[in-house]
């Protein structure tokens, strides 16, 4: 970390990290849903969805965000394939 790195750091200053971390922590604070509970919800989602379709568990991303005053739960779940479904009786 010297003169040069400081010169080139401008855009990547720590304020963006601060803002992102704040937005994340506040979305949890405001919803009163701590990160651990979100994890638990994610696990349950995986269980439910996996029984219908084959998904890539490692690639799942579930997050709370706020856009234009609207809170959203956004889940991105990569699908590998469809499970063969048995006909229901």
């Amino acid at each position: 970390m010297g003169f040069l790195s400081r010169l080139f750091r401008r855009e990547g200053g720590s304020k963006h990290v601060a803002k992102e971390r704040l937005q994340l922590v506040l979305s949890h604070d405001r919803m009163k849903l701590p990160p651990a509970l979100l994890e638990q919800m994610k696990d349950e989602l995986i269980t439910v969805i996996s029984s219908y379709i084959e998904i890539d568990e490692a690639g799942i991303n579930v997050e709370l965000t706020e856009r234009d005053d609207e809170r959203q739960l956004i889940a991105s779940i990569p699908v590998i394939g469809m499970r063969k479904r048995r006909a229901r009786q």
Binding site: G13, K15, D29
Partner: protein
């Protein structure tokens, strides 16, 4: 009828007491009659920031307990006509006063007709309550009689998070539309991308901005002396607090230019002192 403002933040050390003192002096300077109320019982500090620590005889708990009349506990500021302080107790704790008693004190202050040094009698235009840090009873006390809330924060993750929590609690108490004061901004750091700027903070908290106070060494000098910086014409924070006071009374005052970032010449001009920040 006067108006009661509470200055609060959640987090400690963001400058509530300094803000309260400076807004009080600035409002008095504008010709308003102001009572400052230190609600931080057990950790009294507004008195030293104002340089009035040697004048205290009675405090708020004495008033609540009926040891003295409200008028007797009010300390008249030595420099600013129309400015008064109702000090907190230093030896008691926050539970010595209940929110109901606090509300009652603010109502009594509104109804108090008091003569200033020059003999002009009248009622308080503003009662400014300095809230303690935290969200427990001290905070509950401070907001009990408030008509309006000013939230102080700094551009730090922890302070902004606490401000968000306070905004939620104020809404629950139906003290709506709180206004925000962002304290201790360092324009150089904002410019270099290492400090959240005003837009970032407003974006996150979604509240109305009342003022921005730049970081200023004169604040500490003022506190050392017991003289709020509002009276110091060389202090940028002092100027910013003056602007806040004028906005409180309804004037439209544009935000101070914090950074002279408009190019090389702007910065050069600032360095040479030919350009006001």
């Amino acid at each position: 009828m006067g108006e009661t403002l509470v200055i609060t933040s959640g987090k400690g050390g963001v400058g509530k007491t300094t803000t309260t003192a400076n807004i009080g002096v600035a409002l008095a300077d504008l010709g308003y009659r102001v009572a400052l109320l230190d609600a931080d019982i057990g950790l009294r500090n507004l008195d030293v920031v104002l340089g009035l620590e040697n004048r205290i005889v009675y405090d708020i708990v004495d008033v609540v307990d009926g040891f003295c009349r409200l008028k007797q506990a009010l300390i008249r500021d030595k420099r600013n006509e129309g400015l008064y302080l109702l000090p907190a107790a230093q030896t008691k704790d926050k539970t010595s006063v209940s929110p109901e008693q606090m509300r009652d004190i603010t109502l009594q202050l509104k109804e108090l007709n008091i003569a200033t040094e020059s003999g002009k009698a009248g009622y308080f235009d503003f009662i400014v309550v300095d809230s303690p840090a935290g969200i427990e009873q001290g905070f509950r006390n401070a907001i009990a009689g408030a008509d309006r809330a000013l939230i102080v924060t700094t551009p730090e993750v922890s302070a902004v998070r606490d401000a968000d929590r306070i905004i939620g609690l104020l809404e629950a108490e139906e003290i709506s539309r709180p206004q925000l004061i962002v304290n201790r901004i360092r324009p150089g750091m904002v410019r270099s991308g290492d400090m959240m700027g005003i837009e970032d903070i407003i974006d996150i908290l979604a509240v109305e901005l009342l003022g921005v106070i730049p970081e200023d060494d004169r604040i500490l000098v003022g506190t050392n002396r017991g003289v709020p910086v509002v009276g110091d014409s060389s202090s940028r924070a002092g100027q910013a607090f003056k602007n806040v006071a004028r906005r409180i009374v309804g004037e439209e005052v544009p935000l101070m230019k914090l950074d002279a970032s408009e190019g090389f010449f702007g910065r050069l001009g600032y360095l040479l002192g030919i350009r006001g920040r």
